[in-house]
């Protein structure tokens, strides 16, 4: 394959720039949610190229088509609910509109619990699923093709959308845009379900261009109005996409200086022909995986790469994840962990069981990132926006809690305005707290820093930690060290 830019050339380890444990951990952090020492060692052994092949080796399919446990949210503990969404969907599907409405209203009572179950299921997949990159990308697309469960959006639709994101996460972007434009949760969230010939609703048309495909500045206000007309009549019936022909405006629209009786698919075709689109999408993916500050020539090259591959995402992902740019100083250790990265990573790296779902959701909510509940259609802002005096405490306190410490004061109001329930005061104890009796204090500290921060830490800080073990290396003092490490600025980065 042609090399589009020197920074996208393949990173080849050398003696002076080896594929060491720092780089292996970097790959696992960015293409997943962090790795245990064993996983880091395995990836290091595979080498940068084979490791990416291993990460990319997942089916373009929803979780439901996998074998085994945890392939769909468990609704069985919800009173009066079907045991899973598939069953619920089947129940609904063939009903008359009236029956459907009635069944949905019944289930609406349990909607919040079903959403919580879906969030818990997804976090579990991120932490323990067999395809870390697929979940990492699914999470990217969730923040990209944003849909929020706010406004009591049906959990069934949120789950269906989540599966759609997973199925297309590394597939073809064109297929993806066409599918998401027909996704019931999306049609609901951006009001296209109410976009009718007589009164077009512009919400979807605007965000499709501004946030989903082109980026701001690549279309006019009039393009939005025209595109909105083309999407009239695209709606859903509570479970599936429907095209309401009598609500569709089949007049002539002028979009991007072309005229015709366009429908939504024609608009998508025209958008995808715009060179701003591949540039925008590849740039967003690059920022998510590598670093923020892309110069124009790199952005151009990434766009070309996606475009010449006819919007296939895997070639782009493979190139980025094996590139020099990905392993450059600009990329290593500079990313501020998103709350989900922080929490899921901590669970993975400490070898924890999944903490109680409600407590976890409450912590994530306060850090500003509860899955399925992005704040607005732009998704989560990221980067330094994750950090302020408030969220830093919550991040530290959650880390301390996960590492077996005090339960943080997480008494934020929930969506309905009630105080969130009290948290359980004990968690499953992290494994591996038993000190390595062979090691002296310094070796114990080194071991934990290596496991959790995964790159060099200043000697002054190491001294502080070693000092904590001055009165003896035992379970309690080691736990103290672990709680301190997760309360370090260095632990906020990956």
């Amino acid at each position: 394959m042609a090399v589009f830019h020197p920074l996208l050339a393949q990173y080849v380890p050398t003696e002076s720039d080896p594929f060491d444990d720092v780089k292996a951990a970097h790959l696992l952090n960015r293409a997943g949610f962090g790795g245990t020492p064993d996983e880091v060692a395995r990836v290091q052994k595979l080498g940068p190229k084979q490791a990416v092949e291993w990460l990319l080796d997942f089916p373009d399919a929803p979780a439901e088509e996998e074998l085994g446990n945890n392939v769909s949210p468990d609704l069985s503990s919800i009173a009066g609910s079907p045991s899973d969404f598939r069953q619920y969907y089947r129940q609904l599907r063939d009903k008359t509109p009236q029956e459907k409405k009635q069944l949905q209203q019944q289930f609406q009572q349990a909607n919040r619990q079903a959403l919580e179950a879906t969030t818990a299921w997804w976090l579990n997949r991120m932490a323990f699923g067999q395809y870390p990159l697929q979940e990492k990308l699914t999470f990217f697309w969730h923040g990209h093709f944003t849909t929020s469960a706010k406004d009591e959006r049906a959990a069934l639709l949120m789950w269906k959308q989540n599966e759609l994101l997973r199925e297309n996460s590394a597939g073809n972007f064109e297929t993806f845009v066409r599918a998401i434009s027909r996704d019931p949760a999306m049609l609901d969230y951006l009001n296209n379900n109410e976009n009718r010939k007589a009164h077009p609703n512009e919400n979807y048309a605007r965000e499709l261009m501004e946030l989903f495909t082109l980026g701001i500045g690549n279309y006019t206000e009039d393009d939005i109005k025209q595109a909105a007309r083309a999407f009239t009549g695209w709606g859903h019936d509570g479970t599936d996409f429907v095209y309401r022909v009598n609500q569709h405006d089949d007049g002539i629209k002028t979009f991007f200086n072309r005229s015709g009786n366009f429908d939504g698919d024609d608009i998508i075709t025209l958008i995808l022909q715009n060179p701003a689109c591949p540039k925008f999408i590849s740039g967003e993916l690059f920022k998510y995986l590598a670093y923020d500050d892309i110069d124009p020539s790199l952005s151009e090259a990434l766009g070309q790469l996606l475009y010449t591959n006819r919007y296939e995402l895997r070639p782009l992902l493979r190139t980025v994840l094996t590139s020099r740019a990905f392993y450059s100083p600009q990329a290593l250790g500079v990313q501020i962990k998103s709350p989900v990265q922080l929490v899921v990573g901590t669970i993975r790296m400490l070898g924890l069981q999944m903490p109680p779902a409600q407590a976890l959701a409450s912590a994530l909510n306060q850090m500003g990132q509860l899955p399925l509940m992005p704040p607005n259609v732009r998704g989560w802002p990221g980067g330094r926006m994750w950090i302020n005096t408030s969220t830093l405490f919550i991040r530290y306190n959650t880390g301390v809690w996960l590492a077996g410490g005090e339960v943080p004061a997480l008494t934020r109001l929930n969506r309905k305005g009630d105080a969130a329930g009290a948290l359980p005061d004990s968690l499953a104890r992290p494994s591996g707290f038993d000190p390595n009796t062979d090691g002296d204090a310094e070796a114990v500290v080194d071991g934990w820093l290596n496991r959790l921060i995964q790159r060099p830490v200043g000697s002054d800080k190491k001294d502080v930690l070693v000092n904590v073990l001055a009165d003896g290396v035992n379970t309690d003092s080691v736990r103290k060290v672990v709680q301190l490490i997760v309360s370090m600025p260095e632990y906020q980065l990956c």
């Binding site: 077009p200 005096t389 004061a409 200043g458 904590v468 600025p489 980065l493």
Partner: protein, 424 residues
């Protein structure tokens, strides 16, 4: 007053202690130490806001508040023609004059208007309005429409210009993220969602403090470390700010009691926290709080009514709190939203993104009344109201006549000053 002084002393002592051990210390401490060592400088910094300085409270209405359903031109037939199913009948509107009235749920604001404590600036916007939530919000918060991705806000630049050495208490935002409006280059204001979760809960506080102090001389200087170093520096500074401010804020909010209950929602809680901090005499000059949910594309009527009630109940409780504290004449509160909504309602019983909209300005030091004329409902720009007042004029008026600082260095240009503040 004693409390405030002692807070500053703590800051100063910690700063000096740090100076002794670390070559790099958080910017604000560095500058505080310098400012206090130089009496001339410290006068310029206006730090003694404790019990005497002026205070600004900014209320952001997120999502694009429908101005026409907030300050209602009930005397205009066009309003009823265009708004059809979502209009408010004239007999329900809280009338201000023969043309204008407030939304039926804005009862507290109506009584503030009647008692001389509320001004309404009509038709506020800017040239070539942008109808994206995010872009328009960036424009309002940065007051720099010419910059595509602004990195500082108008309040942040106010801090940078007037008190680059101030401690982070100078600005407090209630919420998970620090709004762009408050971001500057020299001061990082505080933000938190709730005071009771604003503390470190780990057991080993002493070592936590050591590990979060500014970087000691870096022992590793590979290029990679230097790059990640910028991020680390930022994290260290924020960690210091958090740690030093948490105790004070917890103490103040726990001891405060208000005369009138605040509504039990996030907005009410935020205002209550702000009132507690004002009562406690924190040296804060600008507070920031948001009420969200205004993106009413569908079924607007009930949703917007509920939001108006939240706004009115929250501000009503806040106002009676301030009056009891006798701080009502040193606090000015302003509301804004990223845009108003289209004049004609849509088929979903909602409204799409629009342009110009009114702002409320509240306080005993403000000049009561209606500022500027209502935009025409007939002479529209792509279906939207044309602005009458540039929002930067409102900012300029507040900066110059309330916060007593030249507005041009902050806004980049001199905008006409409106009669918003009572002349002394």
């Amino acid at each position: 007053m004693e409390k405030v002084v002692s807070t500053r002393r703590v800051f100063l002592q910690k700063g000096l202690t740090l100076l002794a051990v670390a070559p790099t210390i958080p910017t604000f401490l560095d500058q505080t130490v310098m400012a206090l060592n130089n009496p001339l400088d410290s006068k310029l910094t206006q730090q003694t806001s404790g019990k005497d300085g002026k205070i600004l409270v900014v209320v952001q209405l997120s999502g694009g508040n429908d101005g026409l359903s907030t300050v209602i031109p009930y005397g205009d037939d066009v309003y009823y023609q265009q708004r059809n199913a979502i209009s408010h009948p004239a007999d329900k509107v809280l009338k201000i004059d023969g043309y204008l009235g407030l939304h039926p749920n804005l009862t507290s604001l109506k009584s503030m208007y009647d008692s001389g404590d509320l001004a309404i600036v009509q038709g506020v916007g800017y040239p070539n309005p942008n109808r994206s939530h995010f872009r328009s919000m960036d424009i309002w918060q940065s007051a720099q429409p010419e910059i595509q991705q602004p990195s500082t806000g108008w309040i942040g630049r106010y801090f940078d210009n007037t008190c680059p050495g101030c401690d982070p208490h100078v600005g407090v935002a209630i919420g998970e993220t620090l709004p762009l409006a408050m971001q500057g280059e020299k001061v990082l204001p505080l933000s938190f969602e709730r005071p009771d979760s604003y503390r470190y809960t780990g057991r080993d506080k002493t070592d936590y403090v050591k590990l979060n102090q500014a970087q000691l001389p870096p022992t590793i200087t590979t290029p990679r470390e230097i790059t990640a170093g910028d991020q680390l520096d930022f994290l260290h500074r924020t960690a210091m700010d958090a740690q030093l401010s948490s105790e004070e804020i917890l103490r103040l909010t726990r001891s405060h009691s208000s005369p009138q209950p605040y509504p039990a929602n996030e907005f009410g809680n935020g205002l209550k926290t702000i009132a507690a901090m004002i009562a406690g005499g924190l040296p804060t000059r600008v507070y920031y709080v948001a009420l969200s949910g205004f993106d009413t594309h569908a079924q607007q009527l009930n949703r917007h009514d509920a939001l108006m009630k939240q706004l009115s109940d929250g501000l009503g409780a806040f106002w009676s709190d301030l009056k009891q504290q006798k701080n009502n004449d040193r606090v000015m509160l302003m509301t804004f939203s990223e845009f108003g909504r289209r004049v004609q309602s849509n088929a979903s019983g909602g409204t799409d993104h629009g342009a110009a909209a009114p702002m409320f300005v509240m306080g005993s030091g403000i000049q009561q009344g209606i500022v500027s004329r209502h935009p025409s409902l007939n002479d529209l720009d792509q279906g939207d109201l044309k602005y009458v007042v540039d929002f930067r004029s409102v900012y300029a008026s507040i900066l110059q006549n309330w916060l007593n600082t030249p507005s041009k260095p902050i806004l980049g240009d001199q905008y006409p000053v409106l009669p918003l503040v009572k002349s002394a």
